[in-house]
């Protein structure tokens, strides 16, 4: 079935692009365009369900609802990975911030050990 190829290729392509270019302006824009497209498709699916059914027929899924479900699963997967990567990035910045504070307020033994500072 055509849908199997389409889904697998979509997943692999998106994953590779994502991991390779994550964090660049281009990908950020790409994600937004993808999101808008997704919303438009959703609206179309509501207004003209028969179009979705036609596409579903062409790619070999049968029903339009099934096609929507597959699309949703792929979209959800990528939203999850996107969030995960965003969190990792934030974590790294947060670590750098904490590190800067930690190093700035480092305590040398002379400052903390009364015996040594007295000597």
């Amino acid at each position: 079935m055509l849908i199997q190829f389409l889904l697998i290729i979509a997943v692999v392509l998106l994953l590779v692009l994502f991991l390779r270019h994550h964090g660049t302006t281009k990908t950020a824009a790409g994600v937004k365009i993808g999101f808008v497209l997704f919303m438009v498709l959703g609206a179309v699916a509501v207004i003209r369900p028969q179009w979705v059914s036609m596409i579903a027929e062409v790619v070999g899924v049968g029903r339009g609802t099934d096609l929507m479900l597959y699309g949703l699963i792929v979209a959800f997967g990528f939203a999850t990975i996107n969030t995960y990567l965003r969190f990792k990035e934030l974590e790294l910045r947060y670590a750098r911030l904490a590190r800067a504070i930690a190093i700035r307020s480092a305590e040398t033994p002379a400052a903390t050990d009364p015996e040594k500072s007295a000597a």
């Binding site: 994502f18 991991l19 390779r20 270019h21 994550h22 964090g23 660049t24 990975i81 995960y84 990567l85 990792k88 990035e89 974590e91 790294l92 947060y94 670590a95 904490a98 590190r99 504070i101 930690a102 190093i103 307020s105 480092a106 305590e107 040398t108 033994p109 903390t112 050990d113 040594k116």
Partner: protein, 229 residues
Amino acid sequence: MADQSDVWLVVPVYNEAQVIADVVRHALETFPNIVCVDDGSRDGSADAIRTSGAHLVQHPVNLGQGAALQTGVEYARSQPGAEYFVTFDADGQHQVHDVLKMLERLRAEPYDIIVGTRFKGDDSHIPLIKRVVLKTVVAISPRLRKLKLSDAHNGLRVFNKKVADEMAITLNGMGHASEIVEMIARKDWRVTEEQVEILYTEYSMSKGQSLINGVNILFDSALKTSSRR
């Protein structure tokens, strides 16, 4: 004994109040410069470090061992006269005489970094499951085989200023061991390994990372994006 004032020990500490002061005091007999990075411990580790005579750098929040190592290395490399760096565990499972042996080699031979290995010579003291898992990791990792390293997850490492300056650990958690191996390969650091003995005490066994954490490490390493390199 040779002068070790150009050596810095980096010790990441997380909730080790019970043992850290003793570990540091023992190491201070040989190495005058020790920096302990308290990774947001909640058990008074920081106070224990203050009494021990080591430098204390305190993360305001818990960040993970990888982040603590990076902090310690950054602190140590900015100290005047620092030439050699050692990553050393806080739970007392590493031994000072192993460090001395590694330092001696690093000073004499053309290497940038020497990592400890548990798998040269007799390894029967290592718990069996640990042995099997760690050996499997090496068997399936082409990078480790290429670098001829037999133990990727040994916390004992000795390296020079070049490596310390270039060190940039981005995985905050436990994935840093694989990340360091990856850095060795990418930055062409000259690497070798040295047989060390790990003391599996009851304390270190209870604190050591569980093998199930390997799943987390694999996941983090696989989803590491290239843009951050």
